[in-house]
Assembly symmetry: C2
Homo-oligomer: 408 residues x 2
């Protein structure tokens, strides 16, 4: 008998029928003797509906009041799921973030969890009840309602699992696990039984958007065993995200191939190579709230250097405008950009102990005539920027080159 936290996203609870399905799934786990805490999102579409309503009243909604409004989405779901469980004879009780008490800071619309009171939930579990908690929300010290920001229900699930010292936190979603890459591009892509937190972090931040990245960080920090499962499949083990690298994993050199189409690159050529130059270039970009991803600066030859970085494609025009202003100021030669690029990354803890991973990657791409425009590496991933027209080809050939279609 274990204590399991299950988190169901908006699609999984998107209609009364689907909520009943979730209740049946919970009942099955409960029948196996487990204690169950369920964390739910708002029904799909509901959060967007509420935000649109708020914007119809105030173009830039007041953050405190927006949280009051948006948090009702999850509040409706917890009540409905409790009813669905009671309807099939399972005792259950719902809790809003404030009722649990999920204490957060007061940063409305993107609050951070500070502590969770497990007393009420423990009492219910001891009395045989299923506990249902509204994801995505909490309450600050003054009793104001807060929300954790988009995707925050994953974080709620993991935080509750940590607070309750749960044996496992199961994230139910519309995919049945984490794949070696996107099966829409590589039909041979294989579901991974296990992946480490570090790999998952790289996969998530690189565009495999299964889990909210903050929840993965959180799980890693508090050593919560995370499992990604499909809420539309009857069985299946999903993918377990572990904090230890076990023997089996060592054998795999890389675990997956991530990619991101939402990229554009900007290069400033002939930048004087002196201290503070990176800040002078990126400071104004950051001030404009543009997220910068890869940043590359090469050693220069003639006292100048080329400085490149990538930004989300939607921010490309704005960033170019800013940089053209910066250029004259810092005395660089020119600003050039390209919004027709993609990023491809290979990810795997095996890289640490295996040589030649980078050269395999570069050789594979070269053999297909794919030019590498930028390279960036970390301990467990190598990312390259390529022309967007080669994206699918690059992912396919790399998937094959690293034998990802075969179980390790």
């Amino acid at each position: 008998m274990a204590l399991i936290v299950q988190k169901y996203g908006g699609t999984s609870v998107g209609s009364p029928e689907r909520i009943k399905n979730v209740a049946n799934r919970v009942a099955k786990w409960k029948a196996q003797g487990h204690d169950i805490v369920v964390v739910v999102s708002a029904m799909s579409g509901e959060t967007n509906r509420l935000i649109a309503l708020a914007k119809a009243v105030q173009a830039t909604p007041d953050p405190r009041e927006l949280d009051v409004i948006v948090s009702t989405g999850e509040q409706v779901t917890i009540g409905l799921l409790a009813m669905a469980l009671k309807d099939i004879g399972i005792d259950a009780r719902s809790y809003t973030g404030a009722q649990v008490r999920v204490l957060t800071d007061s940063t409305f619309t993107k609050a951070r969890i500070q502590s969770i009171d497990d007393a009420a939930m423990r009492k219910d579990l001891n009395e045989g009840r299923v506990v249902i908690v509204a994801g995505f929300q909490g309450v600050d010290e003054e009793g104001n309602i807060t929300t954790l920001g988009r995707g925050g229900s994953d974080t709620s699930g993991v935080a509750l699992a940590a607070a309750l010292k749960a044996d496992e936190c199961q994230i139910y979603t519309d995919v049945d696990g984490v794949y070696t890459t996107d099966p829409r591009i590589v039909p041979e892509a294989r579901k991974l039984d296990r992946i480490t937190f570090e790999e998952m972090l790289e996969m998530a931040s690189l565009g495999s958007k299964i889990l909210q990245i903050r929840s993965v960080e959180f799980a890693g920090k508090y050593k919560v065993k995370l499992r990604v499962l499909s809420s539309f499949q009857e069985d299946g083990e999903g993918t377990l995200i572990t904090f230890e690298e076990d023997e089996k994993m060592e054998k795999a050199v890389i675990s997956g191939i991530a990619f991101n189409r939402d990229e554009a690159k900007i290069t400033i050529k002939g930048v004087p190579d002196k201290p503070g130059i990176a800040y002078q270039i990126l400071g104004p970009v950051a001030d404009a709230n543009i997220d910068v991803d890869m940043i590359i600066q090469n050693v220069g030859e003639d006292g100048t250097t080329d400085f490149s970085f990538t930004v989300p494609r939607g921010e490309y025009a704005k960033a170019m405008g800013i940089l053209e202003g910066v250029q004259s100021h810092i005395g660089s030669k020119s600003v050039i950009g390209d919004d027709k690029i993609n990023k491809v990354s290979i990810v795997g803890v095996g890289m640490r102990s295996h040589c030649g991973v980078a050269s395999t990657m570069f050789r594979t791409l070269a053999e297909e005539g794919i030019n590498i425009q930028m390279i960036s590496t970390s301990e467990i991933k190598i990312s390259v920027v390529i022309d967007e027209k080669y994206l699918e080809l690059a992912v396919r050939v790399l998937h094959k080159a690293f034998n990802l279609d075969q179980a390790a």
Copy 2:
């Protein structure tokens, strides 16, 4: 400078545009130097939508969980109104029932208010903020969300006004006040400037459904000055509901004519005239949760009596069935019924000090050939049961007979 509690119903906050209108109205009162606490209902249609959603999951929704779901309706409105006020430069803060702390008992879906903590609201008012409170809801001692039942937002408004010792509680609705009778039947019906609580109670319970009856009782008990106003009119004084009869009111003999179409009557003939018989008849009816309205028993002649009462029309068939069972048991002659009757009532505190009111009423109806089937009186009202086909005629001729079309 006064402290005013304003309550806006679902129609008044039924769209973003209407919520902005409410904000403008609140701003106008605030500009006059008043402290304002606003109580709001859910946007029109929202409560029904939420109940339907709940019923789609559980045919008879669990009461605790239903309150969790339904209370989100008002929670959305408070956030939207706070935003609308901030958008026009008025500082405001929203409160759920739990945040205020509106403490209720634990009777889910029809909880009763036990106490209200005014500390947080006072602080906001002192700091110049408009306070916005979700009507219809509260929280019990264990922190469970409760609702006060349909129309409970009126009660919330009055209870807050009582707790804050407000100078006036303004109920904004879709009519501009209390009328002498329904203007759809009598075009000459006149808006009353004032009406006493007792009269309002009789008018409300008799079918003039402007205010929830519980809120009127509450206002009378705590001596809250209540005013009914239109939220769609720019100006207008509405109708003030007072707890003292002033000089002006003494002049009017009756204040209004109420009526109820949702009535059916049942008569048991030849009932043995002995102690306990009323209970033997009405006990089984009450056990079936049927509300009995008028009850009439005449002195009998031959040791038997006729016993009549009225029930809501929808319960008529059920009540007849029960009574036919009772009949043989108590040895009465027969049970007869009629579900084509209506009730008409004249209401006025002036009756206390004016003779001949009843005879004027009966003569007026007789002159039109309207037969009176049952009569019931209280200190400030006289009700009669008549054939439903004469309802409009009866209301019109009584309105004229008591000069209600002319200001007193």
